[in-house]
């Protein structure tokens, strides 16, 4: 169960506003969460608290493939992003880094900024003050990646093991 306070955003939140390109070429990765969503609200990173949840409209994360967009959000302490829909590369990047992304129709109209919502990933439900919303469930193997903590961990647990086994034969 994930529970947290909501920060609300609109449609088409692109990766350039999530983390502007000028911060990408940094050897020091800790700067990314400090500039998260700076393109829309320069003070966002100072207001956000660990465990908070982002709620957004359609096409969240559209634009570039930069994985720093997911990392900036995750390392800022955001526990999940619930949106009407996600752009596909951002969606993959989120799952691959163990950041829960929940596609949930009607979420924009069901919550206000500052609300506290709860998410049950197993049941695929989001609990808001205006009622319970059903989410689109993830295919089983994506759930496995997410539960492993991301694609790197998934690889270490499963794939590298299989590869070794094959080589032994």
């Amino acid at each position: 169960m994930i529970k947290g306070k909501v920060w609300k955003f609109g449609d088409d939140i692109d990766t350039d506003v999530i983390i502007p390109a000028k911060y990408l070429r940094s050897v020091d990765k800790s700067i990314w969460p400090k500039h998260v969503l700076e393109g829309l609200d320069p003070s966002f990173s100072s207001k956000v608290r660990p465990g908070d949840i982002i709620v957004a409209g359609k096409n969240f994360g559209c634009g570039s493939s930069r994985e720093q967009a997911v990392l900036a959000i995750k390392w800022a302490g955001i526990s999940a992003v619930v949106a009407e829909s996600f752009a596909r590369i951002f969606f993959r990047n989120g799952i691959n880094n163990g950041l829960p992304l929940i596609e949930c129709h009607g979420i924009s109209g069901a919550v206000d900024e500052g609300d506290v919502i709860e998410i049950d990933l197993d049941k695929g439900e989001v609990y808001t003050k205006r009622g319970t919303l059903k989410t689109s469930p993830l295919p089983v193997f994506l759930q496995e990646i997410l539960k492993s903590g991301g694609l790197v961990e998934y690889y270490k647990k499963k794939v590298s093991h299989d590869l070794e086994r094959n080589q032994d034969r």
């Binding site: 070429r25 634009g63 590369i89 990047n93 691959n96 790197v152």
Partner: protein, 412 residues
């Protein structure tokens, strides 16, 4: 029931029939990345504990995002990728100055029709213009591909865009794709393949087709796709297997004959208007380049308009060829002289100011008309700056007037 070309490519690769909606693990024929996404890929491989990548021959690396590096950190990160390429014996490695990855990979003939290609850049959909399946992914996905030679995919549905008729004078494939973005919207093709077909696409050059496929991601699509033909084979210098769509569940029919030059206004790529509606908007900068419109044909069309003219004194024009071979040809054919004499600046081959990092970024409140593909808030510089997206012809005419201008007036 028939299948779409993309379904056929994936089915062929797996040796079993798949259709839209199926989740599959597919072998990847070619994977590529650049200096921007490389460092995170290497970190992920290290975390995975991968010592040797699956197959160095299926990997291409092109440095294009920070060329030459603008900071010590950017240079340090590039050195890390350079070292990786050497250690892993990646021979298809192209250091500073070769060009933009989406241009260089097909120019070198590393890919061919019918292949499955993944790039660590959202505009990897550009390569779908060569009758292959190509999509963009993030760094961790690329690391997984480098480690295993495979990736998972949801087989996409295809939105078939049939473009009949012929583009009129002064109107290019950029205007057509902007019009398609206006109709489809920024998320209208999410998870889908966008196939461009019809008489107008058939008669287009391979370069013009690349401009179309390049912007598929601006509608949320997984890939752009255009059936391969002789022009494709000639561009690549290699053959491949040609796949054809014989069934579609969703199509959009357009007649392009009456299409006018189009401009995507700041903030959203789908905020598209006819040039007549935005004509007169003053600009501080004009940019001709990027993986969307930095090819020889784009420079040629712009040079036709700029020949013997001067860039307006309140405006700067930055021209960046998309690859070294484009630059060489443009130089040999006298285009570079035309630009320089008009007062343009020629930038270093690469992405240039497209992503707002260096080599022509915008200051507070500045306005740019650009041939690139994104006009998000702050994309090319300061948060208060703005970007209008247009064709090479419109950018050239606008540079002369210092305000957005209709290129057709220069082509009579």
């Amino acid at each position: 029931m028939g299948s779409t070309a993309v379904e056929k490519i994936i089915s062929k690769s797996l040796g079993q029939k798949v259709s839209a909606g199926d989740f599959v693990e597919v072998p990847v024929d070619f994977a590529y990345f650049h200096d921007g996404t490389g460092p995170l890929i290497i970190d992920a491989l290290n975390e995975m504990g991968v010592k040797r990548i699956f197959d160095p021959e299926m990997v291409g690396i092109v440095f294009d995002h920070s060329v030459p590096p603008y900071s010590d950190q950017a240079a340090t990160l590039q050195a890390k990728v350079r070292r990786f390429a050497r250690e892993q014996r990646i021979t298809k490695f192209h250091d500073l100055g070769e060009g933009i990855c989406h241009q260089v990979i097909p120019e070198k003939g590393y890919v061919g029709p019918g292949m499955i290609v993944v790039g660590a850049d959202s505009h990897s959909c550009t390569l779908g213009a060569f009758g292959l399946f190509s999509t963009g992914m993030g760094a961790t996905d690329l690391a997984y591909i480098l480690a295993t030679g495979k990736t998972w995919l949801k087989v996409p549905e295809t939105l078939y865009v049939k473009c009949d008729g012929h583009l009129s004078r002064g109107v290019s494939s950029k205007d057509l794709i902007l019009e398609i973005v206006r109709i489809v919207g920024t998320d209208g093709a999410t998870y889908k393949a966008l196939e461009f077909a019809g008489e107008a696409v058939k008669s287009m050059s391979q370069s013009s087709r690349m401009t179309m496929a390049n912007m598929a991601v601006e509608m949320g699509a997984k890939t752009g796709f255009i059936e391969a033909d002789e022009k494709t084979i000639e561009f690549l210098g290699r053959k491949g297997e040609i796949f054809r769509t014989d069934y579609v569940d969703e199509s959009l029919d357009l007649d392009v004959s009456s299409l006018e030059p189009k401009v995507a206004c700041p903030g959203s790529v789908s905020n598209v208007k006819s040039v007549s509606e935005v004509e007169g908007q003053p600009i501080d900068q004009a940019f001709l380049g990027s993986c969307t419109n930095g090819r020889y044909e784009d420079l040629f069309e712009a040079a036709k308009i700029l020949k013997g003219k001067k860039v307006h004194r309140d405006t700067r024009l930055i021209v960046i060829p998309a690859s070294k071979s484009t630059y060489i040809k443009a130089h040999r054919e006298g285009l570079i002289d035309i630009f320089l004499e008009a007062g343009a600046i020629i930038g270093v081959v690469g992405c240039g100011p497209c992503l707002g990092v260096h080599m022509g970024v915008l200051g507070e409140n500045e306005v740019c008309v650009s041939t690139s593909n994104r006009n998000f808030i702050g994309r090319m510089g300061a948060r208060s700056s703005s970007v209008y997206l247009a064709s090479p012809q419109t950018v050239a005419a606008s540079a002369i007037e210092g305000r957005i201008a209709d290129p057709r007036r220069y082509l009579q």
